[in-house]
Amino acid sequence: MSTCQPVHHPAHRRFLRSCRRFALSLLLFPLLFPLSAGPAQAERVLTVMSHDSFNISRSVLATFEQEHQVTVRFLKSGDAGAALVQAILARERPLADLFYGVDNTFLSRALNADIFAPHTSPLLATFPPGLRHPDDDRLLPVSYGDVCLNYDREWFRRHNLKPPQDLADLLKPEYRGLTVVQNPATSSPGLAFLLATIGRFGEEGYLEFWRQLRANEVRVATGWKDAYYGHFTAASKGDRPIVVSYASSPPAVVYFASSPMAEAPTAAVVTDHNAFRQIEYVGILKGAKEPELAGKLIDFMLSPAFQEDIPLQMFVFPANPSARLPEVFQRHAVVAERPAQVTPAAIEANREGWIEAWTSAVLR
């Protein structure tokens, strides 16, 4: 204890003073901070709960807000699955008026939980029957995206190899070690792709396909970000020229390029029964504070104004067939004519079993 110094030395006092000043400014900071972060209050507020990928243009939203004298707030709640579970858990005191982002792989779970109120929209009649739920008016389709194989055009050109045209191509010996997919247990495109293989090869055949794909050195990534940006050759420096992504990914690559492109560097494989169509729905939550306005917002979401905003904000296709596609979509996007079919009811009944069987066949 010989190193003990007297406590009231001037240098020490100076130090304590500076400490106090620092501590004071730290304490003041949080008090000031909320002022800068607080939202402006309008008379009426409409709250939309969604997954983290939801997006919309400022100007498009403003037209709705002005027309109805309302402020629209957005609550983000994690990925599509987590957001839906939270909406279900909150059913007694709903967090929002609307929920956007139930997709057809979770459709039955959402309907069975009985958290949505019915709504009829006049526009819906013009939508393609494949997108509409045949006898339920609680969830309305807003957008769709085809989950399918994407490949790196340049890589296949350089290696003098024919690009894949069919899921079965992936099993060929010359495709060994070329493919990266997502884990259906942790990723929604991963699950959609598993469903594509079930639709394509049937419940009897899909596991055999996956066993052979495993033997052909498929790589399984955790989620879309990791697969695309971590392993795909056309994005960053990956080593796999085939990735599971969306049919609308190639136009996104063109749109988000640093210099104009004549041809998309990636291409999507949408040949018959090789893609799974993910449809996203919106619905009014039971117990909504503003059910009438919520209905208005849904009508707006189905109208061309919102629908034409979808492609460049969320990079999926508008469900409304009269919506005009932006040029980059017209030139570079493709749509699956005949996607693989699996019904929502079959998905809900078998999801756990299919994922378990897949996990045993591919990972264990």
Partner: protein
């Protein structure tokens, strides 16, 4: 201890306990009860898989051994570093300290990118080796392997061990080792018999934090280890979100909490009586220039290791953010300000920086205040229950983020605490994870202060607050700083805790990075790298500033440095 002091301690302890009760215990209990007893009925059949299937046991076993191995490796690499930082003075020390804490704030996807840029199949190292030895295939293949995620665990936790242990080390009385050496002990003997036993409280505290961290590891293992490896945390997410099997998710959460609670209780029990009291008030700068070949080699070797492990991946990221298709470019940085302004979720880069700093400040202040209150209260207690309370306060760190996020939805849902859609929930979630950190950092150093010193101050008429200000605070200052640094980084990195909480769009830097990475395209990737670089720079600057505030005042008889 007199009655007044006791009641003050109890009162102090009530603050963190109330916070914990409201934002942790209550939501957790609610979600566990609702999941396990839906509609008031108990159906143990649905959990039979837990005991019948070997899968869960395998997952539990894997979770435990990978966490233990990660902890051991981190200690092995970081302890020599702690020696260097505690004992030697060298150029750029403050900068090194600030830089090595940066990994802590990086989102997992970005860390994965950094490691792949270095060690991946087309990373710098592999390309170099392939060119050098004209190889056909990349020689280093650690993609989706055990080694890859162990490396990442070391990368994340290295600075935690180094900072915690070296700050404590610097506070040890140097006259003790000097006495040992005077009595003829070799440096090794001195280390083994004197320094190591004295350091044990700090080492075990750091080890415990690293262990819990790796135990609940989610993204790192999933991305770098690949889907073949699954921890309990991953399985909880899978059960809750993908399979909507809430009873199973709740049961697994309880298993996870139980295992960690037992470890933390054990740690608290062992550490409780560890008050050695060989302190120095350490206002003297005890560091010295490295003299002699051995000391210089030690310092140089550690700095080299540090640069290789921690700085080269960060540098690789910076390079990625500056390299376009046609060479060096600032295009990605410029794009941050205007590229997709039309989106309602567009965030101007300055706003993102400001918001991140704001949340981090709030979380840091809250976590330090709560941690300080809890540590002060616990340091004075010796009763049987102390270990229990100590372990209880650590629990938020060991709890699955999904479970807690779902708990908030069903519990904080009516006035006066309807916080479910409030922006306040974000810093609260960060604080919840950060304050156990602060507690673990401060507690060993408070326990190091001998009771006689406080008693002497009290006898001389100092009020309890005066005793705290004049005795406890100056002596644990260093530890408080370390706690603050990590509380700050936890919030800056937008840690898991808030990923599953329903919240308004928060517009922080990590949120912006995730938004860029959710769509394909070169500009998205480039902007994500640019934003990651800004996140690193801002964090580094903040740590450096924090470090400035804590520099020891120059003792009077030394010339100013």
């Amino acid at each position: 201890m007199n009655g007044r002091e006791l009641s003050i301690r109890r009162l102090l302890f009530a603050i963190p306990l109330a916070f914990l009760a409201l934002f942790y215990l209550y939501p957790l209990t609610r979600i566990a009860l609702q999941s396990l007893f839906p509609a008031g009925s108990w159906n143990p059949g649905q959990l039979s898989a837990l005991t019948d299937s070997p899968v869960y046991l395998r997952i539990l076993w894997f979770t435990i051994w990978q966490a233990a191995l990660s902890t051991l490796l981190t200690l092995l690499f970081a302890l020599p570093g702690a020696l260097v930082f505690a004992r030697y003075r060298f150029a750029g020390k403050g900068l090194f300290l600030a830089l090595m804490t940066v990994p802590f704030v990086l989102p997992t996807v970005v860390t994965a990118t950094a490691f792949r840029a270095l060690l991946g199949p087309s990373g710098i190292l592999n390309e170099g080796l392939m060119a050098l030895f004209s190889l056909e295939q990349p020689p280093i293949r650690i993609e989706q392997s055990l080694i890859f995620f162990l490396l990442a665990h070391i990368f994340y936790n290295y600075s935690l061990v180094l900072r915690l242990v070296s700050s404590y080390w610097a506070g040890l009385n140097p006259s003790l080792t000097a006495a040992a050496q005077l009595l003829g002990a070799s440096p090794w003997q001195t280390f083994r018999r004197v320094t190591l036993p004295l350091l044990l409280p700090a080492i075990t505290a750091a080890a415990l934090l690293v262990f819990i961290f790796c135990f609940t590891s989610f993204g790192i293992i999933l991305i770098l280890g690949g889907p073949g490896y699954a921890t309990i945390e991953v399985e909880i997410y899978r059960q809750a979100v993908q399979l909507y099997n809430l009873p199973m998710a709740a049961a697994l959460s309880l298993v996870q909490i139980g295992v960690n609670f037992f470890l933390m209780w054990l740690h608290a029990r062992l550490g409780k009586n560890n008050r050695l009291g060989f302190f120095s008030d350490s206002r003297h700068d005890v560091t010295k220039e490295p003299h002699g070949v051995a000391a210089r080699l030690l310092v140089a070797g550690n700095l080299l290791f540090l640069s290789l492990l921690l700085l080269s991946p960060l540098l690789a990221l910076v390079l990625r953010s500056l390299r376009g298709d046609t060479g060096l470019t600032l295009a990605y940085y410029r794009a941050l300000g205007h590229f997709d302004q039309e989106s309602i979720f567009f965030v101007a880069p300055l706003t993102a920086v400001w918001n991140s700093l704001g949340f981090a400040m709030v979380a840091m202040v809250l976590a330090v205040l709560l941690g300080l209150a809890a540590a002060t209260a616990l340091a004075g207690e010796r009763g049987r229950a102390t270990s229990f309370w100590d372990a209880l306060l650590m629990l938020p760190l060991a709890t699955s983020a999904v479970t807690l996020g779902f708990g908030y939805i069903i519990s904080l849902n009516r006035p006066p605490v309807d916080l479910r859609d409030s922006l306040a929930l974000v810093p609260i979630a960060h604080t919840l994870v950060a304050f156990p950190f602060v507690l673990r950092c401060i507690l060993p150093s408070l326990r190091q202060i001998p009771a006689t010193l406080r008693e002497a101050a009290t006898l001389l008429g100092a009020s309890p607050f005066m005793v705290w200000r004049r005795v406890d605070f100056p002596m644990s200052r260093r530890a408080i700083l370390v706690g603050a640094v990590f509380a700050f980084s936890i919030s800056m990195g937008e840690f898991g805790a808030s990923a599953f909480v329903t919240r308004p769009h928060t517009a922080t830097m990590p949120v912006a990075i995730f938004r860029f990475l959710s769509q394909p395209g070169e500009m998205n990737y480039g902007q994500a790298m640019a934003m990651s670089t800004i996140l690193m720079l801002v964090t580094c600057a903040a740590f450096w500033l924090l470090g400035r505030f804590s520099t020891t005042p120059t003792p009077p008889n030394h010339p100013p440095t």
